[in-house]
Amino acid sequence: MPAMNMIQALNSALDIKLGSDPDTLVFGEDVGYFGGVFRVTEGLQKKHGLSRCFDSPISEGGIVATAIGMGAYGLRPIVEIQFADYILPAYDQLVSEAARLRYRSNGEFWCPITVRSPYGGGIFGGQTHSQSPEAIFAHVTGLKTVIPSNPYDAKGLLLAAIEEYDPVIFLEPKRLYNGPFDGHHDKPLTTWAEHKLGEVPAGHYTVPLGSASVMREGREATVLAYGTMVHVCNAAIAESGIDAELIDLRSIVPLDIDAIVKSVKKTGRCVIVHEASRFGGFGGELSALIQERCFYHLRAPIERVAGWDTPYPHAFEWDYFPGPVRVAKALKRCVEAVA
């Protein structure tokens, strides 16, 4: 199988859908002729035509509103919001309209739209190019929220998202576009060419939404993560010497509750890791679910490692970004706790 980075894998998924489904189209800021600021849509306009992949005004609310109308007509629009930080102007459209259209119309109208957006930190983007807004979407019933951590999943999950009959927020960890990143910003970077999950089939395949992936088996503790944090946690587990199980959630809505419960019941310990601020973050929901379903199996308090409760700071990026050292410390606290 050819090696692809995440950008190429996503591009391949879009290319396949544009080639096979005449009701799909791709639009957003700079995605047409230029191919997107991260190059995810490169070449698609040239190959599939102007009407299948085109530029939009700088208007996130307008992009999503237009996509909803197209979805209600019967198309499957795939739109790009250039940075997840810019999703907020479209928030009302996603929450008040996309998430509820099927429900409020008793199934008369619905919108199978996919909203792709690069997200997360680690590229010195400051507070307007680094945020992780997944929890605010997970809280809104009616939206699905997907976050891949590698090229193989990125392609399979994106194809599954496009084929959904519900609106999907597809958050792409931009720090992972070109290679896995384990949080060691001061060490040489690796590329996806050197990683087994960089091997991506050229053809169509899907990774079902709501299916978590066990990235590493272990018996002493469960680590729950998604996006860039999967790689940070992998490094933290290796460096800690703790026999921890690492689960990549892949989508937080739908959530693979069975995989989580099974693992935590086995290990009796859980560390939840995400890049978004901790207070009110999705880790809180995970923690509550585990407490409800695994309380009598827990041998230590649930640990959360997350971004600090500040806006994402520019100069302090590596102090903010949850790195392997913080995750390893949490793992150690968890394993050493005495009930």
């Binding site: 609310g61 909803i68 109308g69 102007p89 099927r102 429900y103 008793n106 008369e108 809505v253």
Partner: protein
């Protein structure tokens, strides 16, 4: 020190802060002197292919067809056959009678909420008749007359308003936030303006599929201040979407007069100029003018000439909703002095003037529609009114997603439904 800083400022007046106010408040005499009512037939009717740059006079005029004697005059006369005129009159009358009945039902505690279309019935009725059945309307909550013109079943309206077990939207929506796909009526929501862009997207999709359907979207005058309005106009203009975008300027956004939305500075139709699309300003209380302008814009859309913005100049004669008392913020008799009259009376007068209607026929129609409404209300009340009957709570858990996830399944079990 530069020259600007050294300039003597002692004679400069202090800045003054400006907040617009309507000409009259409760207890003051009604003042509509700022409203110019041009002669019917005075505004020209350009060819649909005329370049937008040559049509920039239209947003400042007021397209009117019906004159003071009920005659249809001028280039915008759509020359409708009497059956269409009577269908329009029937839809408007049915809307008004139904509104009155449901307003009473609210006062009797049979429903939680209601909004009347009083004074604005011509818009939905004329557009429902002017547009094709495959077109899609992205309405406001004051377009019941569209559904009436398309003969949406009264019983379904009543069942939704009573949120009873036969509510077509299964108890999920406020009484007047209808959805009726088969009638070309897109799902309403309470957030004003958020469907304006959907109309544009829907129209773009129709063009993308080389279809022949067009979309029509509506907002109120107050909603022109929302970002959604400007986003929709931008997208419509950029992609030449086959869409008609309408502003129902009914003068009041709850208690805020239209000047708060910017009408003091220009017309709402003139906002089209900045987007390079034609803007029409139309007497919204003139059924014929509404019909003609809608058809003109529809013809433009269907022939790839792109979008049109239409301001319907009208007046919200009733309160904003059953929760609103307009006498608290405007003169009590303002509605009766509205210079463009009552749309229903004007169409009736026209039909009588052309010998196609009579007071006797009108009274008979009122009796017939009242009986129909009474019958539907009776049937719906037999099923139940708010709190007396409701859909099975199981319905609450359906249609959240195409397929329920474990949360929905578990919570439905927990709720015992």
């Amino acid at each position: 020190m530069d020259t600007v800083a050294r300039r003597d400022k002692s004679n400069r007046p202090a800045l003054s802060f400006y907040v617009p106010e309507p000409p009259a408040r409760p207890g003051q005499p009604v003042d509509f002197s700022h409203i110019e009512v041009p002669e019917a037939g005075a505004v020209r009717c350009p060819d649909i292919s005329e370049p937008e740059r040559d049509m920039r006079d239209l947003p400042y005029g007021l397209i009117r067809v019906l004159d003071e004697k009920g005659r249809a005059v001028g280039p915008w006369d759509p020359r409708l056959d009497p059956d269409t005129l009577r269908a329009g009159l029937t839809a408007m009358l049915k809307t008004r009678l139904f509104d009155e009945r449901m307003f009473r039902a609210h006062r009797q505690g049979k429903t939680s909420f209601y909004m009347k279309s009083l004074g604005e019935e011509a818009i939905g009725a004329a557009q429902a008749l002017a547009l094709d059945l495959g077109d899609m309307n992205f309405p406001t909550y004051r377009m019941l007359s569209w559904l009436m013109a398309r003969n949406y079943p009264l019983i379904d309206l009543c069942n939704q308003i009573y949120s009873n077990e036969r509510d077509p939207l299964r108890g999920r929506q406020l009484p007047i936030l209808y959805s009726a796909r088969d009638y070309g009526f897109y799902s309403l929501s309470g957030n004003v303006g958020s469907r304006f862009g959907h109309a544009v997207g829907w129209a773009m999709a129709s063009a993308f599929k080389s279809d022949d359907k067009i979309a029509i979207g509506h907002v109120g005058d107050g909603t022109t201040a929302e970002g959604d309005f400007h986003e929709a106009l931008t997208f419509a203009a950029v992609y030449k979407a086959p869409v008609i975008l309408c502003v129902e300027n009914n003068q009041w956004a709850i208690s805020s007069f239209s000047g708060i939305a910017g009408a003091g500075e220009t017309t709402f139709a003139a906002k089209a100029i900045a987007y390079g699309i034609p803007g029409l300003r139309v007497d919204g209380n003139d059924f014929l003018a509404v019909y003609a302008a809608t058809l003109w814009a529809a013809d433009r859309a269907r022939t790839n000439h792109g979008p049109t913005l239409i301001e319907f100049f009208t007046y919200r004669a009733a309160g904003h909703s059953t929760s609103d008392d307009p006498t608290r913020y405007r003169p009590e008799d303002e509605a009766s002095k509205w210079p463009l009259g009552d749309p229903l009376e004007r169409l009736k007068a026209h039909l009588i003037a052309i010998g196609e209607w009579s007071e006797e026929q009108h009274e008979a129609l009122i009796a017939e529609l009242t009986a129909d409404i009474k019958s539907a209300v009776k049937q719906a009340e037999a099923i139940g009114t708010l709190g007396q009957s409701k859909p099975n709570p199981r319905e609450m858990f359906e249609d959240v997603f195409a397929h329920p996830d474990w949360r929905i399944r578990e919570q439905r079990r927990e709720a015992g439904v």
